[in-house]
Amino acid sequence: MRLPILASLVALLLLSPDLTAQRRGRFNRGGQGEGGGSPAAEQPAAPQATDGKPKKHTAITGGDVYLGTGQRITGATVLIGDDKILAVGHKIELPEGTTVIDAKGKTVCPGFVCVYGAGMGQGRGTPWIDSCNPFDPEIKQGLAAGVTSFLAGAPRGGNSPAGDAAVVKLAWGKVEDMVLQEGTVLGMNAQLPAGEREKFRDLVKQAKEHRRAQEDFLAKKSEDPTAKPPKAPAGTEKILDILSGKSKLWLQLGGGGFNPFGGGRTGAGSDLDAIRSAMQIAAELGTGVVLVKPLSAWLCADEIAATDSMVILSPRDRVPADPADPDRTGSNLASAALCNQAGIPLAVTCPVGMFGGAGVGTNGLLGMDLNTPTVDAAFAVRGGMTSSQALRTLTLDAAKILGVDHRIGSLEAGKDADILILDGDPMHYRTFVEVAIVNGRVVYELANEPLYSRIHR
């Protein structure tokens, strides 16, 4: 009975013309190593792709390629050199000795990026790489679900930006590849006590002054080599990371959320005040922030979009409206779509809370929602989001929210080769991952896995 809806979604996808992507494809023709079209990300592509010739080439040919940017190229080739994507498009010349993976009739898309996650080989805090477990069976489980990266140790609230989260890759069997980046995400409460708020404002001011001083110094240095670099004021280190774009600030909005032990909910079905505080912080910083599961974002989506801020939502977290003010409270499936329509980059996650949720495994259902990341995106589709945007919430936009979109999240030249080959539409619940590639290495093959290869359909 859901078939008509799904069919129409698929039809929508197939019909939507994708000219920009096509153009990108042609641009890249034979562009091995040249990094043809630059990634959509602001950051420059990692340099490895251009300097030095890749040792090993792999090409995924003939697949229906979803770039992760919302675009799709049919029958395209993805050329991989070592661990990076060299080119995506049609008529790409394959260098000699290229390993070809035929994906005709299959779907190719970027590996999913999860903004929450647990287990899957993650280590025990900074430095994450020294305690990671590259042979954790959960890695295979995560790859089977399409996850190739996730944020381990997601930050919590606090009165100042803090956290030691790391973006972990599911790089089976390779310690060096397990941690993509540390410290990309810091957490703080949106609403601070008065004194703390004042302190934070002051620190931001000092940090900005320091940045100006640093710029002056760099300008001066060329003339006067004896010039001394300015010293960062104490306490501003993390803020400087945020200002420089090295870290994303996740703001916890508190209150209003679902609390299973609080009789269903605390708060009045609205966290508008907290969002407004967060917008103030974003304005002070001059950089976008990330709102963690805002309840009322749909009410002020334009304001959020105007500050370049981003949003993490779990569309199936529904909060009933306050009967006294039903038009301005509560939240439902449509929230994600409304934010998306306002142009806010959005990551979709499963409910994470008291009982966990963002994990993989075979031990029952509770806390295993990362087994089906696309189902959470499907809730957003149900609420009105387009299917191609829904894929973005699991790929490029999620990578933006983690501050690593220069490395992962889309199939673009220069990015890490984290790629899935699927046996159907990425958003379809029947779709299985057939091959998962992380950093250019095949790390999962359905046919060789004891669990999913046994499911006959």
């Binding site: 025990r124 305690s131 990671c132 966990g356 963002a358």
Partner: protein, 506 residues
Amino acid sequence: MLRTNPRRNRCFALRAAVLALGLCAAGLRAQDVRPIAFTNARILTISGAPIERGTLVVRNGKIVAVGADVAAPAGARIVDCEGGTLMPGLVSAHSRAGLVSPPPTFSVEAGPRRGGRRGQGTPPPDSGARGVQNSAATKVAERLDPKQEVFGELLRAGITTLALTPPGDGFPGFGAVLKPDGTTLEALVVDDDAFVFLGMQRDARVKKALKDGFEAANKAVAARKAPKEAPKPEAKAADGSKPGGEAKPAEAPKPSDPQPPPEPPKPEPPKPDQPKPEQPKPEQPKPQEPPKADDKKPEGAPTADKAQGPKPEDKKDPNIEVLADLIEGKHKAIVQLNSAADLLHWLHAGGKDLTFSRTICTESFDTQAGAFDLVIDELKAMKAAVLVPPDLSVRPRSRYVVNPVRSLHDAGIEVGFVLGDSPARVRTLFFRLMEQVRAGLPRDVALRGVTLVPSKALGLESQCGTLEAGKKANLLLFSSDPLDPTSELRSVWLEGRKIESDTQAR
């Protein structure tokens, strides 16, 4: 590498008394002086093909002849094996039997499941709290209680050479080789610095300790190779000769403790000495391990010695000196890597560049962090023998049984076995070996894995592990082939002395 231990002769009178007592005891037992001839035996020499019906002659605790056509010497005590099978005594190269404190942190069942899911947001417990300070110069033998039933039980179960491993991560110290019939420290401990033990965990602090330790050691090696002014080596020689005179097993807890921690890794000359670290410099006759000199304080006045303050050449951290000796090839090492993940971390922590003589051992196949069959290429590249439990494993989250031992052997890696700490487990060892053979491991590899391979790991291949002339007469006499399920271990012979087996049905 067993070296004659210079600190044996501490209290001469006492030793003489003990010796006299021992001689009396031997005299009472009386027969021991005669050679022994084991006749009518099927002999698994391990070093070569089995001898279907042969004789093995033992004199003074050593094998003097083995063969099908060897005749029992005149006057020999004849042990008629009645067609039973003789094989070398078991060699256990990795055991923590009898080490009570600190308690061993390892067990087969409850292996730490690192990186597993622990619920949202709750990081697994940090193991870094356990000390990972460098105490490479301490000796496990020093904290040993010799009067423990377990050694005798292991002996009666067939272990005639028992190596004890210090517990802990990083550089917990020297392992010891025991002759398990002793009841005093002196009789029990054959070699108290048989091998340097390195314990690996995937843990930031352990990895840092390893990196720092070996960086400092490489520096020390470079410093040794650099030509020095004349007086220094002499002073060292004088110092080194001291323990030769009168030394004792320093039960001083960790001489390293008061030492400052190894210098932080400095940008050293990028290891010019790395290519061939094994080769000890012929110039300046190494005054037999200066570090040793450090931890063997003269018995009389250990405090006085300390009070003298560090002599200029004593500034060296003995722990680092031990590691430098290791790099120079003067010690052997056993590296414990409990899973495939730990092995990758070992390489990641700098283990790639370490090429000294070492054996890798693992206590269990950890399906949550990968059994060794997942890292066969890496293991091959390390060119080291591997000691593994004689067990089968499963692919995680499945019922697919795999045999990592066989995979390793098929890949050309020398495999031996970790026999276990408990006598109960050792008593059933041969059943596990049978399972291994059924699962495809060649018979001779299975038997070599409990004898010759571990003895090589300890550097004792010239003394035990096979039945050849010149080796210790450590023998197991089975009623039939040891891999036959009906076979019984009839007796254990430790250096020509019979020890009744306790596994025989009565």
